[in-house]
Symmetry: C2
Subunit: 415 residues, 2 copies
């Protein structure tokens, strides 16, 4: 089955928002084994919307559209699909009641044009919206399918997972099962070189690498008649990857480094504290993104100034004078200092040059030290994070955090 993703919205054409919907839907369709060869964006213009929709249905079996389901006069996706498929617009009473309840619940005033959102092309399958007023829908005709979803990601994403995935599974004869192996400290090309033979020879399950911000994720996906059967096909492949790349694997189906770290801390009943210089709160921010992180994290100090490093973290004046703030010695004393200040089991520190200014021949932009202090050890690790590109501040800060989390995970293994 072949699908096109067609996103509707003038705000996309003007670049006012980034099209995260297309990426989300593409990823989900790949998981379902539905091929996507084209993605398109068109504005809230009836003529061009119609042309794009016709083209999408001409070259594909299915079009998945987002946007243009709102209450205003320029929201025309439903009407355009109804016209193309020769269907009348009819009231969908459950949607009307749901919209009325939504307005009551949030004590907002319901206007006449909100009622328009309860009208559907006759015979459509309706997907309820738990996070907004616009229901989604699917219309089938002559072997072609149009699926229409609301534009805001917070409405579209849960609707897709809860209602569209089950709807789409009927078109796929088989069930998919995927496991993600998360790696850190190895590049995508290196992973490909090492696993090349296995990746090429294994067709079911497939093994696909995805690189993102210093990490590599290997997705192992099997297709079978049942979920259990597919799972049983995935497991031996994952075991083999563990044998080959075990030292780089930080988790299986674990999401990201910060989530892996929170889980590892929870399972060992340990707490972590951060002393951040160059990352300026980024470690704390990323860790506290994880719901439930409060059980493993009490305290972070962002010590941007040397005086704060001395006074709050008790880094010695002599260390700062002799080696500078960006040094192995300072990193160690910061980690030790925040561990003692907070009473945590592990103290983690960062100090470095994030740029764009502040670099020198001796201490260039991208030089970062991570300190890790435990009850009986204190280590510092030197990182060189610049790739020689312009404007790397965000990248260096992010990657310093990833390394700090990874080093913390490694330290936890032996506690």
């Amino acid at each position: 089955m072949k699908a096109e993703i067609l996103c509707v919205g003038t705000e996309l054409l003007l670049g006012d928002i980034v099209n995260t919907n297309a990426a989300f839907i593409a990823r989900e369709l790949a998981r379902l084994g539905i091929d996507v060869y084209n993605q398109s964006v068109v504005g809230d213009n009836p003529q061009r919307l119609k042309e794009s929709l016709e083209l999408a249905l001409e070259r594909n079996d299915m079009v998945i559209m987002t946007g243009g389901l709102g209450p205003t006069y320029d929201d025309l996706t439903k009407e355009t699909v109804a016209e193309l498929f020769g269907r009348k617009m009819v009231l969908h009473q459950p949607s009307m009641e749901r919209i009325e309840r939504f307005f009551q619940h949030y004590r907002r005033v319901m206007t006449d044009n909100n009622r328009k959102q309860a009208y559907m092309p006759e015979g459509a399958t309706v997907f309820p919206n738990d996070n907004g007023t616009a229901p989604g829908l699917a219309v089938e005709q002559d072997g072609k399918i149009a699926i229409l979803l609301p534009g805001p990601p917070r409405e579209m994403t849960p609707m897709f997972l809860d209602a569209v995935v089950p709807y789409l599974e009927q078109f796929s004869g088989s069930t998919l099962y995927s496991t993600n192996v998360h790696l850190f400290g190895i590049g995508e090309s290196q992973v490909e070189t090492i696993l090349k033979e296995m990746m090429v020879s294994s067709q079911n399950p497939t093994i696909a690498p995805y690189a993102k911000e210093g990490e590599v994720r290997l997705r192992v996906t099997a297709s079978a008649k049942s979920g259990e059967e597919a799972k049983a096909m995935v497991e031996p492949a994952v075991e083999k990857i563990k044998e080959i790349l075990g030292e780089y694997i930080y988790g299986i189906d674990v999401g990201d480094l910060q989530t892996a770290l929170v889980k590892a801390l929870q399972s060992k009943n340990k707490k972590v504290a951060f002393a951040e210089s160059c990352t300026g709160g980024y470690l704390a921010k990323r860790l506290t993104e994880v719901p439930g992180s409060s059980s493993v994290f009490d305290c972070g100090v962002c010590s941007y100034a040397n005086e704060i490093k001395e006074r709050i973290l008790h880094v010695s004046h002599q260390t700062l004078a002799d080696f500078g703030a960006v040094s192995e010695q300072t990193a160690k004393e910061m980690a030790r200092g925040v561990r003692e200040l907070s009473g945590a089991d592990i103290g983690v520190s960062t100090t470095g040059i994030a740029g764009p200014g502040g670099g020198s021949e001796e201490k260039p932009v991208g030089l970062v030290y991570v300190g890790i202090a435990t009850e009986d050890s204190c280590e510092a690790y030197e990182l060189r994070l610049s790739r020689g590109y312009q404007d790397e501040r965000e990248y260096i800060r992010y990657l310093a955090g990833s390394h700090a989390f990874h080093l913390c995970l490694k330290t936890l293994e032996r506690l």
Copy 2:
């Protein structure tokens, strides 16, 4: 002039990366007065790439492509354009030398397929790449233009700004000048209602609102024969907006709230310190995104646990027992505490319920207190940030930070 943005890459079709290039180019083209009615994505497949390119050039004057300029066999964008325009591929010696220098500089090994990146369709305008090996290019023929840019945003973005914008200005008879007015504390629909008459009646300059994450930006753009002339047309409109919406304006052409705050602190020679509970380092992270923030920010404390609030920030045990961590009283004591701890001029605190768990009837998810302490004042502000949607943790934490920055800006005005 009408353009289509055509992004090439299987990783986009699979949803492995989000298409930020399309949004960036769309925004820049809007600024240049070039209309975009379609955006498309196609994979690294020669036949479908050719079809998409033909369609784009049939319905537009210009196509701007990203991706497919790499060294490997499936990078085919240049070759496809050359074939369509009937051009030979010829060696571009300056590009070859630049690529050789790039490899020498980063001490990487240059392979034969890197040489392919120095070959161009005959007669192309070449855009040098300062951040990678793939040059960009433009080919013109029979009133149609194809512009080809590398896929990685860190290569594409500077190339677009440095080389493509000057190239495109030759096709525009006029020069544009834009000013951005940044507002906080007012919704987009309210701005539209208040400014409706002015927005509808003013055609040059145009006034366009853009809403993003709790903020509204009004872009005032004039088109004239010279930059000065356009600027002179923009200024009176900005003055009128200031008269009408002055209380909500936090800056003109200032980028974002954190940059505005760093600039305001610098100009008043003041320092800020953060005590963060529910935002967990997000304030510090956002402020230290701004290069040069170290001149106004020495210290942040992320006090996730009550014990840390007491011991490091000196919030009284009685306050926490009587009112709880999420309270006006605790927010004030945290702000006062971090101000004293750090020696900063302004102490800013956050404490609240970011969710998804932890909410109650009395203190629901989204309730956040921001404390602001100065030498002679200490105030707390209650915020209700939930919109009733699922999975709002990131949104609540981000918006709490924006409010904290805005309250800090307002406090600075009277210091």
